[in-house]
């Protein structure tokens, strides 16, 4: 009898649901407030390439990429080319990485960061809609509003700054290919980092 029960046993492990966006799909629109209280919708940037960066300034993996200026260099390089760079904070109130607008502005200034805007996603809706799980977690949306890259910032999952030079930078790779009219060759990678503090 026990064998029979085992034979028909079905085990389910249900966890809080994340949506995800497939490569080539239209990136879901969202409206979030920036650090000056101004609302921005993704649709406001129609016709422009948009890079989304999920961030948490206290996460060691984020520190790796800001402490080395890797992230700032990417931000500066692409915003100078009329790309919109949105740094998104999905940390819930009271959790690691949740900051006031003033603190977020101080961080931008102190770290010499160059995002177009820093946006707050306090209820985590936008992060979960995109399936963002780690900080950093990166997405690239093309001028037609389609998702062309999602995943890690680079190819070496570590918290060590010295690995940056040895890694393939997936953002650079995808943007170089896209901006030169080629098909993005690596569209989905596994992001690495701290879990987002939803």
């Amino acid at each position: 009898m026990r064998n029979l029960i085992s034979a028909i046993a079905i085990s389910f492990m249900a966890l809080p649901c994340f949506a995800s966006v497939n490569i080539g799909d239209t990136a879901p629109d969202f409206t979030l407030s920036d650090t000056y209280g101004k609302s921005h919708a993704l649709s406001d940037f129609k016709g422009k390439t948009v890079i989304l960066e999920w961030t948490n300034h206290e996460c060691p993996f984020v520190k790796k990429h800001y402490g080395s200026h890797n992230m700032q260099n990417l931000q500066e390089k692409y915003t100078k080319q009329d790309v919109i760079w949105l740094s998104i904070i999905s940390s819930a109130k009271g959790k690691q990485g949740a900051v006031t607008p003033e603190k977020a502005n101080q961080l931008t200034e102190k770290r010499k960061a160059h995002p177009s805007f820093v946006l707050f996603d306090k209820d985590g809706t936008t992060g979960k809609t995109y399936g963002a799980k780690t900080t950093p977690h990166m997405y690239i949306i093309n001028t037609e509003g389609k998702l062309i890259y999602k995943g890690a910032i680079d190819s070496i999952p570590s918290a060590d700054k010295e690995d940056i030079a040895k890694a393939t930078n997936y953002i650079d790779k995808a943007m170089d290919e896209y901006m030169s009219g080629k098909t993005v060759s690596e569209t989905s990678t596994v992001s690495y980092g701290c879990g987002i503090k939803y």
């Binding site: 064998n3 206290e58 690691q96």
Partner: protein, 270 residues
């Protein structure tokens, strides 16, 4: 104040005395099952972590976030070393994120072998890196070193019992009689027929995949089993592109006994 504490944690130097290191979150020690190492022979060495309550370390596939510990050995050229034998993990759910790892204690055992050791003494040196997390994550590293006298045979010590206890948590390799992998409606489906009847009388069966970028850790998984057969389905990972050539599975039966299976995906219908 909390931020000040965090800064303090990051800059606190790890205190260590050769084989031992300690942080606020854990202590870590290089151990061996021999007091003296054999000139020619096998022995076990390991990195033993003891974690403070609430903190965890990660499995080889950490899940949605995190990073597994790693070890770089600096050894005499007459000592060869195997890879880390990972104990089966448990699921750690935090902030809607699903990870695989360990709480409490973790031993990372490594098999070593000496061959024609000529020195009377030798030192095992391990550069260990880890990421330990609770509601926050803190990376750590330590250079651990322990000197040993080399004699004709291993002189076992009390750590041998600890290695034996952890050996029970290391998945036992088991063979497939037959196995198929298929992808249906963005779900990975595995059907395995094993040479051993490991599912006989099993009440719970958990399957972990070592490969990253294959399945979604957030999604519902379903499985059916009987005797030596299991059918398992789970949604594909968001970053899934292609099946790897080989899928390495860890099957845990009744949270107690674990098995490792390698499934070739070549010539499979997808």
């Amino acid at each position: 104040m909390r931020y000040l504490l965090l800064v303090f944690l990051f800059i606190t130097p790890i205190s260590f005395s050769n084989e031992f290191a300690e942080t606020s979150e854990l202590n870590v020690k290089l151990i061996s099952d021999c007091n003296k190492l054999p000139k020619n022979g096998k022995f076990s060495t390991g990195i033993l972590f003891n974690l403070q309550p609430g903190w965890h370390l990660y499995w080889i596939n950490p899940g949605d976030a995190g990073l597994a510990p790693n070890i770089h050995w600096d050894l005499s050229s007459q000592i060869t070393t195997g890879s880390i034998q990972w104990a089966f993990p448990h699921v750690i759910e935090l902030d809607s994120i699903s990870n695989f790892g360990y709480s409490g204690q973790l031993l990372l055992p490594v098999s070593m072998q000496t061959k024609n050791m000529t020195e009377n003494k030798t030192e095992l040196i391990a550069d260990v890196n880890w990421l330990v997390c609770k509601d926050i994550c803190i990376p750590g590293k330590a250079k651990l070193a322990k000197s040993f006298v080399v004699t004709d045979a291993c002189e076992k010590n009390s750590n041998a019992n600890l290695f034996a206890d952890w050996a029970k948590k290391i998945p036992e390799n088991t063979e497939l009689m037959d196995g198929t992998v298929s992808i249906v409606d963005r779900k990975l489906q595995l059907e395995l027929f094993l040479t051993q009847t490991i599912f006989q009388n099993a009440v719970t069966v958990d399957i972990f995949i070592e490969n990253t970028q294959v399945v979604s850790y957030q999604s519902t998984q379903s499985q059916r089993w009987k005797n030596n057969w299991v059918l398992w389905k789970q949604d594909l990972n968001d970053a899934f592109v292609n099946l790897p050539e080989k899928i390495n599975l860890v099957i845990v039966v009744d949270h107690l006994k674990s098995y490792r299976v390698q499934l070739s995906t070549q010539e499979q219908s997808t």
